[in-house]
C-alpha cells in the first residue's frame, strides 16, 4: 500500500525552543537572508514557531505553535500553479518542483498557512558556511518558491534502503530533521496509512485538531492540545 505521510504536533509538549527551525535550515539548505532582508519580509523558515500570549501581565502564559506545510490533500496552492510546480505526490506529499517554478507566487497567496517562501534573490553562503550545505538537497535559485518537503530526500533514501534490505519501513525509523531535533518529541512523523503507526494513532486523538480545518484544505498535520474543557479558568 502507498504511504501517506503525515505529522502530529503536540502543542502541550512544545517548549518553543526552535530546535526544529534550526535543524530544518541545516538539513534543507535554507538560506539565511540577514537582518535587513528579514525586516523586509524575505526570511525563509519552512517551519516556524508561532507565539501567542494569553492573559494580562503579570499573569501571562505563552503558547507555541510550530507551523509548517500542512501537506493538504486538497491543497489550495496546487491547482493555482500554472506549471504544475506544485502538485500532490503519490505519497500524499505536497510537492514543489523547483525546476518547473516560474515564480508567479500564486501558491504563496493561496496558502492560508503562509508556509510557502520565495527566493527573492539568489541564495548566498559566506565561506566557509558553503561547506556545511547538505549534498542531498538542491539549492534553489532566484525566483522560485520553496517550502517544507517533509525532508523528501530522507524519504527517498529510506525507500531505497528498505528495498535493498527487502523489508518494510519501521514506524519511527524515518524522521524529518525537525522531528529528529525536537527534544520533547512534540513532532511525530510517519505513515498515516499504517493504522498502528504513532502518527496515525495521535491523529485520531481526542486532543487533535487541524489548523484552519473549516477552510476545507484537508491538512495532514494534526495539532494536539489540551481541550478547553480541561481548563478551569484560563484567564
Amino acid at each position: 500500500m502507498a504511504y501517506r505521510w503525515g505529522m502530529a504536533v503536540d502543542l502541550d509538549r512544545c517548549t518553543g525552543c526552535e530546535a526544529c527551525v534550526t535543524a530544518c535550515h541545516a538539513e534543507n539548505n535554507i538560506p539565511t537572508v540577514g537582518a535587513g532582508q528579514a525586516a523586509r519580509g524575505r526570511a525563509m523558515h519552512w517551519i516556524r514557531v508561532e507565539r501567542y500570549y494569553e492573559g494580562d501581565f503579570p499573569d501571562v502564559r505563552v503558547k507555541f505553535r510550530p507551523v509548517l506545510c500542512q501537506h493538504c490533500d486538497a491543497a489550495p496552492c496546487e491547482a493555482v500553479c500554472p506549471t504544475y510546480a506544485s502538485h500532490q505526490s503519490e505519497d500524499g506529499l505536497n510537492a514543489q518542483v523547483y525546476n518547473r517554478c516560474i515564480g508567479t507566487r500564486y501558491c504563496g497567496n493561496a496558502c492560508m498557512y503562509n508556509v510557502r517562501f520565495f527566493n527573492f534573490f539568489n541564495p548566498e553562503w559566506e565561506k566557509p558556511l558553503n561547506l556545511q550545505l547538505n549534498p542531498d538537497v538542491s539549492i534553489r535559485s532566484v525566483g522560485v518558491m520553496e517550502k517544507c518537503t517533509f525532508c523528501v530526500q530522507r524519504i527517498k533514501a529510506a525507500k531505497v534502503l528498505i528495498k535493498s534490505e527487502n523489508r518494510d519501513l519501521k514506524d519511527g525509523e524515518l524522521q524529518p530533521a525537525c522531528a529528529q531535533a525536537c527534544p520533547t518529541t512534540a513532532l511525530v512523523f510517519g505513515d498515516l496509512n499504517d493504522p498502528e503507526s504513532r502518527v496515525a494513532r495521535l491523529s485520531h486523538s481526542p486532543r487533535g485538531t487541524k489548523l484552519l480545518e473549516d477552510l476545507g484544505a484537508e491538512p495532514k498535520v494534526t495539532y494536539l492540545q489540551k481541550q478547553a474543557w480541561y481548563e478551569p479558568d484560563a484567564h
Binding site: 489550495p76 515564480g103 497567496n109 493561496a110 503562509n114 517562501f117 527573492f120 534573490f121 525566483g143
Partner: protein, 442 residues
C-alpha cells in the same frame, strides 16, 4: 447634402498625419524617456532578482498585480463600448469608436506585460504557453493564470482585428492622398482595398459578427482576472460577487480613460468639430451609470462581509475601513462616487471639463480599488501571526510610471499615423438613416 462635401471632412481628419507640431516631438521624447527608464528598471530587476521590488512574505503580489488589473480594466473602455454602440447602431458612436478601440489594444498590451514583469523567473514566461515541449508537460489548465493566458490572448487578438479591420478603408484613403514612402507603407497596410460593394458588405458583416463575439469575450476577460483572486480562500477575495464587480469596475475606469483621451485629442489635434460636447455628455451619463453600479457593488460586498462577521474577513474589513488602509479606502470612495455623482448628475456641471475632472478622479479611485483588493487581504490572512505589510520600492514605481508614459507614447504615435476618427464611418453617418427613394431591390 452634397456628397462632395465629404472631401473637406477627409482632408480635415487626415491633417494630423501630414502636419506635425513641435508638441508631438516633445510628447514623444518625454514619454519615450520615461518608458526607457521603465525598461531600465525592469532590466535592473531581472538582473538583480525580483527582491528589488517591495513584495514580500506574505504580500506576494503588490503594485505589479495592481497595475495588471488596472490596465486590463482600462482595456474594457474600447472594444466593449464600441461593440455595444455598434450593435445598437448609436449614431453618436461614429467619432468615438476608434479612439476607444485604440485604448483597448494598447491597455491590453501594457496590462499583459505585468504578469511577465512580476514573475520570479520572467525568462521562463513561455512555459505558460500551451506547446508540446521536451519537458512533456503542458500548462495546468486548472490554474486561473492559464485562464488569463487564453482570455487575454483571445481578447487581444479580437481587439486588434476589431481595430484594424475598419481601419483598412481609411488607410486606403491615406494611401490615395500620399506620395513616396508613405504611399508604399499605407498601400501595404491598406491590403489593396478598393471599396467595392462586396468589400464593404463583407467588412460590415465581419464587424457585426466580431461585435457580437467580442462582448462576451470582454466580459470573460475581467471575470477571469477577478478569478485570479476569488479562486483563493484569502479573506475578502473568496467572493462570488467578484466577477461582475470587476467587470463593472473595468468598464467604469475604461470610460474614464476614454473621456480623458478624447478631451486630449480634441485639444491637441483640433478635433472640436468632431468630438463635440454631446459625446462627452453621453459618455458622462454612462460614467455616472457605472459610478452608481460600482457603489452598489461595493455596498453589497461590504455589507455581506460586515453582516457575516467572519473573523478573518473582518480583519481585512476593518484594516480598510478604519485601519492602516482607511486613507486609501475613503479616497477611493470620494474619487469614485462622491465627486463624480454631482458632477455627472447635474446637467449644468456635465460639461467637457466636468467630465474630465470626474474621469481623473475615477482613474485614481479605480487604481486604489485594485490596490485595496489585493494588498490588505494578503496582509491579513487567517493566521494573525503571519500578518504583514507592503510598501512599493522605486523599481515598482518607475515601471508603473513607464506604463502610463507608454500609453501616452503609443497613443500619440497612433494618432500621428492613423486617422484617429474613422473617416468612412463619419461619412456614412452624414446621411440620415432613411430607406432610399429608389427602393430596396434586395
Amino acid at each position: 447634402m452634397n456628397r462632395t462635401l465629404t472631401k473637406p471632412l477627409a482632408d480635415d481628419l487626415v491633417r494630423p498625419l501630414f502636419h506635425t507640431s513641435v508638441w508631438f516631438y516633445a510628447i514623444v521624447l518625454t514619454a519615450g524617456t520615461v518608458v526607457a527608464c521603465g525598461a531600465a528598471a525592469w532590466a535592473f530587476q531581472v538582473w538583480n532578482g525580483i527582491g528589488v521590488a517591495g513584495i514580500r512574505w506574505p504580500v506576494f503580489w503588490g503594485f505589479y498585480l495592481v497595475n495588471f488589473v488596472f490596465w486590463i480594466g482600462i482595456s474594457h473602455a474600447g472594444t466593449l463600448i464600441s461593440a455595444i454602440l455598434r450593435l445598437v447602431d448609436a449614431q453618436w458612436r461614429r467619432p468615438v469608436t476608434r479612439c476607444a478601440e485604440v485604448i483597448t489594444v494598447f491597455a491590453l498590451m501594457i496590462g499583459a506585460m505585468f504578469p511577465i514583469i512580476h514573475l520570479g523567473r520572467p525568462w521562463l514566461a513561455f512555459w505558460l504557453f500551451p506547446y508540446p515541449s521536451s519537458r512533456e508537460i503542458w500548462p495546468n489548465f486548472r490554474s486561473p493564470l492559464a485562464w488569463d493566458f487564453f482570455a487575454i490572448n483571445t481578447y487581444l487578438t479580437g481587439s486588434v482585428l476589431f481595430l484594424f479591420l475598419p481601419m483598412i478603408p481609411d488607410l486606403a484613403l491615406v494611401r490615395d492622398r500620399s506620395t513616396g514612402w508613405r504611399r508604399r507603407v499605407y498601400g501595404f497596410l491598406a491590403f489593396g482595398w478598393r471599396g467595392t460593394t462586396t468589400q464593404w458588405n463583407r467588412l460590415e458583416s465581419a464587424m457585426q459578427i466580431m461585435a457580437v463575439a467580442i462582448i462576451p469575450v470582454a466580459v470573460s476577460v475581467h471575470t477571469i482576472v477577478s478569478f485570479d483572486f476569488s479562486m483563493a480562500t484569502v479573506p475578502m477575495w473568496h467572493s462570488t460577487i467578484f466577477g461582475p464587480y470587476f467587470v463593472a469596475g473595468a468598464i467604469f475606469s475604461g470610460i474614464a480613460a476614454l473621456i480623458i483621451a478624447m478631451a486630449v485629442l480634441r485639444k491637441t489635434l483640433r478635433l472640436e468639430a468632431y468630438l463635440q460636447p454631446i459625446h462627452f455628455e453621453n459618455l458622462g451619463k454612462l460614467l455616472l451609470l457605472m459610478s452608481l453600479l460600482w457603489a452598489y457593488f461595493v455596498f453589497a460586498e461590504r455589507l455581506t462581509v460586515w453582516y457575516g462577521n467572519e473573523p478573518s474577513e473582518m480583519a481585512v474589513f476593518w484594516a480598510t475601513q478604519r485601519g492602516e488602509y482607511a486613507v486609501f479606502y475613503w479616497t477611493m470612495v470620494v474619487c469614485n462616487f462622491v465627486i463624480p455623482l454631482p458632477i455627472l448628475g447635474i446637467r449644468r456641471l456635465r460639461t467637457i471639463t466636468g467630465c474630465v475632472i470626474a474621469s481623473l478622479g475615477v482613474l485614481v479611485g479605480m487604481w486604489l480599488e485594485r490596490f485595496l483588493i489585493i494588498v490588505p487581504s494578503l496582509a491579513h490572512k487567517q493566521l494573525p501571526y503571519s500578518w504583514g505589510t507592503y510598501e512599493p520600492r522605486p523599481v515598482e514605481l518607475t515601471i508603473m510610471a513607464a506604463t502610463f508614459a507608454a500609453m501616452i507614447l503609443l497613443y500619440a504615435l497612433f494618432s500621428k499615423f492613423v486617422p484617429i476618427i474613422s473617416i468612412w464611418e463619419m461619412r456614412a453617418g452624414d446621411r440620415p438613416a432613411t430607406p432610399s427613394a429608389t427602393g430596396d431591390h434586395s
